[in-house]
Amino acid sequence: MAATAKPIPARDEPRRPNIASADVQLPAVKDFEQVDREIVGTLHPTVAWFMGLGVAVFFLLIGIATWMYQIYSGLGVAGYNPPVMWGVYIITFVFWIGIGHAGTLISAILYLFRAGFRTTIYRCAEAMTVFAVMTAGLFPILHLGRPWKFFWLIPYPNWRYIWPQFKSPLVWDVFAILTYFTISSTFLFIGLIPDIAVLRDRENISPIRKRIFSVLSLGWRNTDNEWRHFARAYLFLAAFSTPLVLSVHSVVSFDFAMALTPGWHTTIFPPYFVAGAIFSGMGMVFTIIIPLRRWFGLKHYVTINHLDAAAKLCLFTSLVVGCAYMTEWFVAWFSGNEVEQSFFANRIWGQWWWSSAILYTCNMILPLTLFSQKLRRSPTWLFILSFTVNIGMWFERFVIVVPSLSHEFEPWQWTSYRPTWVDYGILLGSFGWFSMWFMLFIKQLPVIAIAEVKEILPPKLRKPHPHGIDSTGRHFEYEADTPGEYA
């Protein structure tokens, strides 16, 4: 499934470094045996992993205990201050949905575009998507006064003969997120099948694990027939996921844009939300992949070239988001709408100036450092920047939700908002929930797609050919890594 083909120079043409394809190559990975050994080798649990899992579960327990307290005491403990009736829960819901988007972008959209650098990072990003959507899906339920009634949003025949209102963006949201979760997890699982077959075939110690892998691999045998249908199904799932990922955050943005609230009622919201989602997701990808490549000894799989290419994507989405911010300011000024102008003045210079300052610094100014190749190729800087991107994008949603609701049309309604310890406890719990699933995933299933990595390695040949195999007229050339650094 990986991108491999690239043009080759004629035999007598002088060779030039192929910088454009540098992010495809893995010069330190020599053969299939090495791929299996090193990637499967990451699955053995370590003390550090158990400690990490313990911390994640501890945070999750804090979140659960806080939620129990909220159910017992009522939503009033959550810091809502009418008319600010959307707070940390909706902000965090949008944040986590956004995190998931980069995963689908990397696994599906970049697959359709044959972007080589996705090969070694897409599995992590895809798993991140599934777990982020699982986390996001909790927040609308946490936000309900009676969370046990959440199923009222699902259309099913019921004794009340009442159906959901299909003109409501909240109902669209339910379907968008359920569809997104179903398709993302299906896409993740389908991609995992050949790799689980590798685990099944290499498992010689535990018969229980071997049996589990046998069931999960669905009896996959690597036949040409299976691969033929697999490739087609994978392509169509990627093709479905691509408009889906764009639609899901557009639908989330409709939750805001369909309302008449100042700052929300704008047609720029769908593309603005989608770009912001991908930007925040790229931040989370760096937060996850940079420590993983170090702890798992996978620096020669997720190379500096891969990080460089992903950083360019992060920079691009940052520029799109920055452009959307400036368009918002311009529209507020150009519209001549006093309410809108007053709201924006309050957002930038008024009571919420500090949150806007965090947002613009983290999302518009700091990512500009990625214009520097040196910083794009520095894992340390990318890791630091990923935290500022995550913080900035959480505050972007804060700035969208809270300043608008606290500064609507009627001045007597203008108010403030301060989250309580309950909000913070549940926010912490959401990170625990997400991290717990991710920690479990990285030690049970391969974090790098084994079959796809093998695809980009030069195959063993009986008669080596200067331009790769030519038995069918195709030439897959293997070049030295360029610009040269891979670890």
Partner: protein, 166 residues
């Protein structure tokens, strides 16, 4: 099911063996490969996968169902919102699209399972764990009379191991 299995370390050896077997035609050929390769795909020359039909039909059924249920529910419990028609197709497009993706995606998976004949409880005759690891396998389903020809062809083209299976 009986036949001959040849295991190859090298891709070009497997490709040339497949081409020779196809020319001589001792029986149905099945190839095991750790990763999909265009070279093998072209040597086998299999027809396009019918999974696309499952995707198309699933997508069309999904979008139809999505619009239908939204319109039916609106007529069942008529409620005028913002002076718009009871059955407003524009907002229902969101719902129709989501259900199209959902049903289309799931029917693609069903298409994969049916056509690839998975899940299966037992691995087929001739399968060897090394084929998920790095080697290529060429399985020729043939009668014992034709097995000798198949074995000779596989060895001639560089098979590191040839064995009869049943």
């Amino acid at each position: 099911m009986q036949g001959v299995l040849g295991a190859f370390h090298e891709l070009d050896a497997a490709v040339s063996a497949i081409e020779a077997l196809k020319k001589n035609g001792p029986g149905l050929i099945r190839v095991f490969t750790p990763t999909p390769r265009h070279e093998l795909e072209e040597a086998i020359a299999a027809p396009p996968s019918p999974v696309r039909r499952f995707t198309l039909i699933g997508g069309l059924l999904g979008v139809t169902f999505g619009y239908w249920i939204a319109i039916w529910v609106s007529d069942y419990w008529p409620l005028v919102v913002g002076g718009k028609p009871i059955a407003s197709w524009v907002p229902y497009t969101v719902f129709g699209f989501e259900v199209m993706v959902l049903i289309g995606g799931l029917s693609t998976v069903v298409g994969l399972l049916i056509n690839a004949r998975i899940p299966r409880l037992t691995l087929m005759v001739g399968y060897d764990p090394r084929f998920s690891h790095g080697d290529y396998g060429v399985w020729v389903e043939c009668t014992p009379e034709k097995a000798r020809t198949a074995e000779a062809l596989l060895r001639e083209h560089g098979a590191v191991e040839v064995r009869r299976e049943r």
